[in-house]
Amino acid sequence: MKGPIVVVGAGQAGASFVSRHVTLGGDAPVILIGEEPYAPYQRPPLSKKFLTGELERDRLWIRQPDWYGQNGITTRFGTRIAELAPSQRTVITDSGERIGYGKLVLCTGSRPRLLPDALGGSLDGVHTLREIGDADRLAERLGGSRRLIVIGGGYIGLEIAASARKLGLEVTVIEMAERILQRVASEQTSLYFRSLHRDHGVEILESTRIVRIAGRDGVARRVELDSGETIDADAVLVGIGALPNVELAEAAGIECENGICVDEACRTSDADIHAAGDCTSFVRNGQRIRLESVQNAADQGDLTARVLSGHDDRYASVPWFWSEQYDCMLQIAGLSQGFDRAVIRRNSTSGGQSVWYYTGERLIAVDAMNDTKSYAFGRRMLEMGMNPRADQVEDEQTDLKALLQAGMPK
């Protein structure tokens, strides 16, 4: 390999890449380039404890900012890459500077899908949440507000709804699908979160579309719904999904389909370019998927560093994810898409429950709500390719540890 490894995007995946590169003692010099003017930080707290003021800013770092230099990593924070020139193995910054690479790793992440201007998406008081600056602005807005409307009942929207309740605001969540979390979870899990939020005083309107956000003097004032109803609001949070940042790759002729297409070694269609994290899509069980999670970003970043150091690794991690809302900890292992059967297991010790997803006899995922035991054992079973019988799992008397051990190769 001639020239340094250039990493574009200094978020979770970029940080995991350089951390693994350093622990493997990789010889190639690394340049970590990121548009945000900071070292990589954790995004999950932005909608949770950071938003409520329970976690301070300097505890968001993935690694202390001086760690990179101390470990031989050149950093260029606050620098946006405007263009890739793969034929010259060069990236070009927005100020026109050209930086050559031997290998390039794209970790550009994703960005919130915006509400069109015509629907009031650019009014003052309408927020999205991705970066620390967004969280600061949202926190400030919530501080002076009485009522928040959350458009979109996905994880980020629901977490922000919970945080806003904690801060004392009235909150309404508007979801156009029949149920919140429809895209990502079963009916059982949606139901659980619907009651959780209603118990905490959040109004949830499902099967409801917004007609527009109406404002006065450029400031959002109320949200008009297709039901004809209008709700006043001082703040609106739009949480309607994320789009992968593929534009650089696409313009450079790299294959993209709902993300930058990567193989099991995180290689793109260009032999010298890898990609990791929210910006990638890959094939799992015959389907091209894209994940937005710390696990995926960290594991793909880590794997790419191993591959570039000559290891013959393949990405096969069982996906996992978590979310925190009020006093409920949701933990998910596996991917439930395409399940044909879901059973509930109660945990009367913790007051929690879990949903176990199957296609036929095959266990594909577990959602655990305040039930870390089911998450931990479910995840181990998924990692080992075990398929515990649904009727056994459903029975709280079945000891999961014994079930796991019985299925382990001797």
Binding site: V294, T372, A376
Partner: protein, 106 residues
Amino acid sequence: MVKITWKIAGKDDITADIPIGNTLMEAAVDNNVPFIEGECGGCLSCATCHVFVDPDWYGTTGAPGDFEEDMLDMTEVERSPTSRLSCQITASTELDGLVLHVPIPD
């Protein structure tokens, strides 16, 4: 600040002054302790912050909580009687001088 030591088989010990209130997972990452990753940021979902508390200190750190107890069943290196997830231990004056042993995967 309190002093914490990580012992890593085959390598030099790492001893560092840790601000009171930080978790020992954060402390380990900040001090480059190998094999401690803290992927989930301390919310009991990854088990990549597993440590063996020195038996002399286990009485002081105390035993794991319920959720932590469950997660200890999925650590990469198998748990021992003094296993803890270090994101669940917060630096406090009682822990000044604490010794942790870092599990090393094969």
